[in-house]
Amino acid sequence: MTETFSIGEAMATPGRVIRRHPMAVFVWGFLMMGFSLLAVALMFGTLADLPLTDGAEPPPEMFGKLMAVQGLSMLLNVGQAVLAVVIWAATMRATLMIGRPDRTFFLRAGMDELRLVVVGLALFVGAYIAVIILVLLGAALVATLWQANEAAAMIGGFVLVLGLIALVVVAMARLSLIAPATLILKRFAFVEGWALGRGRTLPLLGLLVCTWLVYLVVYFVLAFVVIVALFASGVLADITAQSPPATLGELFPSPPVLATVAGLMLVPGGFVYGAVMTLLSAPFASACRQLLDGPSGAMFAAATSPVATSAGDAADTMV
């Protein structure tokens, strides 16, 4: 497996998706933004009577409301995670089907999404456990070194922290093809995704770094624009000029201002959010497609039927 993928081609893919499917990109972001705004409105709306002044007692019904908000928050978190997976699948699906019209904006609720939820959870929980174990081992190692030589322990601790960060980044790059491979091959592709990344850790790392750099640029530009807009519109001055609020509800700006902010977040904000989500997922879907279309991908051709093969067989084939 010596062939690789083009980082340039992979990085150009989000732009292509945004150009060819702007409406879909807007809908993805609109859904995420809409859900987040709805969640915030529900949570803060319920707690609007919460007193903020010193020594003020909350009304008796506030305890029940706090309990309700706690339950609601849990449900909203689950809902947001599910929505994020549905949109993640849609961005990758659009990347793999660029130019083809889709009436549901590539959004589905099926087995692809269920597999992606499982893959996402497995990678997240697995990485979490691995990091906890490594941190514990590192701490014990540094404590042991500390008893022998404090300076060596400090240097060792610093090196271990750097090593852990590097390891996490490399692991993220190495594991980045599992989700797109799962969507393309229509089965759990832990082994195939891992095998596709074998010998291509550096290009994948390069792709990850490029994606993050573009993301950071977009983030800072947006943050700058939002801050300038807040100052220019006088919203910040208006908020700071107000007398200290007595309740949480009084912290909110007036309804017209709120409506304007929500409108801005939903319409231009929705498109930007959708574009960012595309930027973060499309390059890896493109890289995976390139690799599967290449000679090494041909090895999976016979393995695309889930009934006819096993994860172990597929791994053996790749080796």
Binding site: M74, L75, L136, L137, A140, V307
Partner: protein, 293 residues
């Protein structure tokens, strides 16, 4: 048919899709367990809920409070554990039967015969073996950690951590090596335990992957259950209403809280049946694939 880890992981969903009524019947079995639990021990449940709530609200729980909760649990476990083990064996056997002998679908694959006795024995044996191993390994790790605390040598902490990780790996390895024992017992109609070692040779990683996927899917079903329960709890108050009924007789508790108990039992019975299928059926599918290689 060969063994596909990723394919086998979905067997639970396939079982439910093939015979949706089967999942309902398994749910009914769980409902019987829950109704028996509350029907015979609603008063004890009220005591447990009250003790748990006291502990939750206490910033510094006293040993007496902990003891009260422990005693309340023990009082219930004495008769609930054997009942749970029997129903667990019947349901495990039913899940394995639904995959390995799909034609025997009467009564939702539920039986009360020698298969169930053998599955009960195998489950108990696995529980004892894994439990003993966990106990011995934990004791070693705790002893090494204790030596570290006593001597102040940090290297002992490192050793305890490495031993702890090795112990966890060993328990996981043993559990995977024994994971085909129940389906093999149903399939061969005889007590089968250590033959699972041979059957899993060369299949450890696919079986571990399959188990992880099945556990995550079961977790997803559990999250769905939590969402449904949250809605029904809002309507009925949930079984936490029992906390306010400590000291009442079982009949009084049932008379006051039966809607909450019934709704909680129905929702949890159905969710438990789904989780059972999602979590256990993959092992039978794996054995079917490995047997037919």
């Amino acid at each position: 048919m060969s063994f596909s880890a990723t394919d086998a992981a979905f067997e639970g969903f396939r079982v439910v899709r093939r015979h949706p009524v089967t999942a309902l019947i398994w749910g009914l079995a769980y409902l019987v367990l829950y109704v028996a639990t509350f029907g015979l021990g609603a008063g004890q449940w009220a005591a447990i809920m009250a003790s748990a709530q006291t502990l939750e609200q206490s910033s510094n729980p006293s040993p007496e409070e902990m003891m009260a909760l422990g005693q309340a649990y023990m009082g219930l476990l004495v008769w609930l554990a054997p009942l749970g083990l029997v129903i667990g064996a019947v349901l495990s056997a039913a899940v394995a039967r639904s995959v390995l002998r799909p034609a025997e679908n009467a009564w939702g694959y539920l039986r009360l015969g020698m298969d169930e006795v053998r599955v009960f024995a195998v489950t108990l044996a696995i529980g004892v073996i894994v439990g003993l191993l966990c106990g011995v390994l934990s004791a070693i790790v705790v002893a090494v950690f204790g030596l570290g605390v006593a001597s102040g040598q940090a290297v002992m902490y490192l050793l305890a951590l490495i031993l702890g990780l090795a112990a966890a790996a060993l328990v996981i390895w043993l559990s995977i090596k024994l994971c085909l024992a129940v389906p093999m017992t149903i399939d061969r109609r005889k007590f089968t335990l250590f033959e699972s070692f041979k059957a899993t040779n060369g299949q450890f990683w696919p079986l571990l992957g399959m188990t992880i996927i099945a556990v995550i899917m079961s977790l997803i079903v559990s999250i769905l259950g939590t969402i449904i329960s949250a809605g029904t709890d809002l309507a009925t108050g949930g079984i936490s209403v029992l906390a306010g009924m400590d000291g009442l007789s079982t009949l009084d508790v049932l008379a006051r809280a039966w809607p909450a108990i019934l709704v909680w039992s129905v929702v949890n019975a159905l969710m438990s049946a789904l989780q059972l299928a999602v979590l256990y059926a993959p092992f039978s599918a794996a054995w079917q694939g490995l047997r037919d290689r």
